[in-house]
């Protein structure tokens, strides 16, 4: 694999929180390379640092130290505006609790990221319908989230993550609130995204879910202790 195919390169990434007098190293020197169209599962117990890693990869958090490159751009110390821009244009988020806005319709929820995209979009409704079609939810466009089942809500959330054509989708326990059948459907949906050049990283503590991924990274105490790629 050469450089052009890598989407993320992390070197010596640390994220330290100060809690009272104590320093907590949520990430304690992470070296990681993620390539385009990889499907990665990050596993670990709670407190292992997997969520912090997701937040750093999703530009929601900045590392305390270390080097970080995203699509060959040095993003180690970019400002809040640039991070927001990267979040809106390059990253899609899928959460365990779906986090759809209850007052908006399904279509409006899916369109929401376009509101914050700095590039002008002409037909945001059309784009939303395309994204909903992609996850098989176009028939529910005018419903509100509370009229949907958990599995349906997560599919809508995935459509929302897809609408800005992201390079990377980050999913934090995306199947945590779903039953077995829906868990399978969602994971198949995720897997199908890889063909579209999207890179997927999901955090889970469910080993069964992790089996869907090509590459499994296990974290413990802020460090990567196992990486199936290496």
């Amino acid at each position: 694999m050469n450089d052009s195919e890598s989407i993320f390169k992390l070197k010596g990434i640390r994220r330290t929180y100060v809690v009272g007098d104590e320093e907590v190293h949520a990430l304690d020197g992470i070296d990681l390379r993620i390539d385009t169209s990889e499907f990665i599962a990050v596993i670990g117990t709670s407190g292992s640092g997997k969520s912090t890693l997701m937040h750093v990869l999703g530009f929601m958090d900045t590392p305390t130290s270390g080097e970080m490159h995203f699509e060959r751009e040095d993003v180690s110390s970019i400002d809040g505006g640039r991070r927001a821009r990267l979040r809106s244009s390059r990253i899609g988020f899928v959460f365990q609790a779906f986090n759809l806005l209850p007052r908006l319709t399904v279509a409006a929820n899916v369109q929401l990221p376009l509101t914050y995209n700095r590039d002008k979009v002409d037909d945001s409704r059309g784009l939303a319908m395309t994204a909903l079609k992609r996850v098989g939810m176009e028939h529910r466009a005018n419903h509100t989230p509370n009229q949907l089942s958990g599995g349906e809500r997560q599919r809508v959330a995935i459509a929302r993550a897809l609408i800005n054509k992201p390079r990377l989708i980050l999913a934090d326990e995306p199947t945590g609130n779903l039953d077995t059948k829906n868990r399978g459907l969602i994971m198949e949906l995720f897997a199908s995204l890889l063909d579209e050049g999207i890179t997927l990283a999901l955090v889970t503590h469910d080993d069964e879910v992790a089996q869907f991924a090509q590459r499994r990274i296990r974290m413990q105490d802020g460090l990567i202790v196992e990486d199936s790629a290496s």
Binding site: H55, G58, M60, D61, G80, G81, A84, R85, R87, S88, S89, F93, F95, N99, L101, R103, L104, L112, P113, T115, Y116, N117, R118, R160, N164
Partner: protein, 415 residues
């Protein structure tokens, strides 16, 4: 996104949010609604009443008018005060002769309240003896007939000009009272003219008691000879041609009267400047007290909006987290919440303006002297709207700042 699109999006989100929380939004708006309605309605009412007062002031000669009244002679002249003949008809003649700057001049021979009898009906009214210039000084209009003429003065004619009040009572069955006869204190007078009704006096009473419409007039000479039996007058009213000549006119009148009164200062010359100053003072005190009240109610409205916005921010912490995660900058969140506050206050302001029109229409109907009230005082409405929007903007800043400063990770974890 450009700033205008940001604000448009923010306003749209704000409207959605307001619609989703109708009751809460309405309650938070109520302070602004009441504040704006009170502000505009009170300004409208006060403006209307001041307008009436000003009109009445202008009608009675305005700033150009000076009045000569009898006064106590100074201490040093008390012992010889009796050598002065007092304010008499001779003063009128002297001023007419010696004071070219006096544009119009009339004595007022005040016969106070009198009973007017005709057609088997009787009605009370005020009776003044005046000269033809009176109608020019007081800016009164005739609806029928003529006013008192020079000939009437010379011949001491037994004629009378009736005000609207007496006419419409005694001669209610006639289109005009002109040509009719009316009996006052035993003497018979022919009605030669009838004054047009005066809408508002603004100074006293309601439409039921309008002192200007109760005034009736006869020639000053008739009044003096038939009624008083002396040539004394109660007051002299003089109108200057223009404001520049007013000081000279006062000096001329003073010189003339000093001669006719044999140097006794038993008169005073009163200008309308004092009344005007009083009116200005009244106007200012209205503006300040009303401004204070309206300011306080708008402040309370603003606090209401801030309260609701803070509650709204705490309620929607997770939503803020989601919005930030999918790419909203702090700036976008700030604009969204600020726009919501502004939209609430603008809607409140508009409702308040609508309410104020209703209040003013009501006041116009039911307040005495209310017919001068403008139902849509546009300037006051403009400022009311501007203030309410400004208050919304100010009270939205702090909640919007709080929302925009939330850390997306913490916000998403918030339960």
């Amino acid at each position: 996104m450009n700033p205008i699109a940001d604000i448009a999006t923010g306003a749209r989100n704000g409207l959605l949010e307001i619609w989703a929380n109708k009751v809460r939004s309405l309650l938070s708006m109520s302070g602004i609604v009441l504040g704006v309605a009170a502000l505009v309605a009170m300004v409208g009412i006060v403006q209307g009443m001041l307008q009436n007062m000003r009109a009445s002031f202008e009608r009675s000669g305005g700033i150009l008018k000076i009045e000569v009244q009898e006064a106590e002679a100074p201490e040093s002249q008390q012992h010889i005060a009796s050598i002065s003949p007092g304010l008499t008809w001779r003063d009128i003649l002297a001023i007419e002769r010696a004071t070219p700057l006096a544009e119009y001049i009339t004595p007022i021979v005040d016969m106070r309240w009198e009973r007017f009898v005709a057609n088997g009906r009787r009605e009370g009214g005020l009776l003044h003896g005046v000269t033809p210039d009176f109608i020019s000084i007081q800016n009164r209009e005739l609806s029928h007939g003529r006013f008192i003429s020079e000939t009437d003065i010379i011949q001491k004619s037994p004629v009378i000009v009736l005000g609207d009040h007496v006419k419409s009572d005694i001669f209610r069955d006639f289109d005009t009272a002109v040509g009719q006869q009316v009996r006052v204190k035993g003497d018979v007078y022919t009605v030669v003219g009838q004054l047009a009704p005066v809408d508002n006096s603004g100074l006293t009473g309601g439409r039921r008691y309008n002192w200007e419409s109760r005034l009736n007039f006869m020639p000053a000479t008739t009044a003096m000879s038939r009624y008083k039996g002396s040539d004394e007058v109660d007051k002299i009213e003089i109108l200057a041609a223009n404001i520049q000549e007013l000081p000279d006119l006062i000096a001329q009148v003073e010189n003339t009267l000093t001669q006719t009164h044999r140097s006794i200062r038993d008169f005073e010359i009163v200008t309308q400047e004092e009344q005007l100053a009083e009116m200005k003072k009244l106007e200012n005190s209205f503006v300040y007290s009303l401004g204070g009240i309206a300011g306080i109610s708008l402040l309370v409205g603003g606090i209401g909006i801030m309260n609701v916005m803070l509650a709204s921010v705490s309620e929607r912490i997770r939503e803020i987290g989601v919005r930030k995660a999918i790419g909203a900058r702090s700036h976008d969140v700030f604009i969204q919440f600020l726009a919501e506050a502004v939209v609430i206050s603008i809607l409140g302001g508009l409702l308040g303006l609508a309410a104020s029109v209703g209040l003013l229409a009501f006041a116009r109907e039911f307040i005495p002297e209310g017919s001068g009230i403008n139902v849509m005082p546009l300037v006051a409405m403009f400022y009311g709207f501007l203030f309410s929007s400004g208050i919304g903007l100010l009270s939205g800043i702090y909640p919007a700042l709080r929302a925009s400063r939330l850390d997306p990770i913490d916000a998403l974890r918030y339960e």
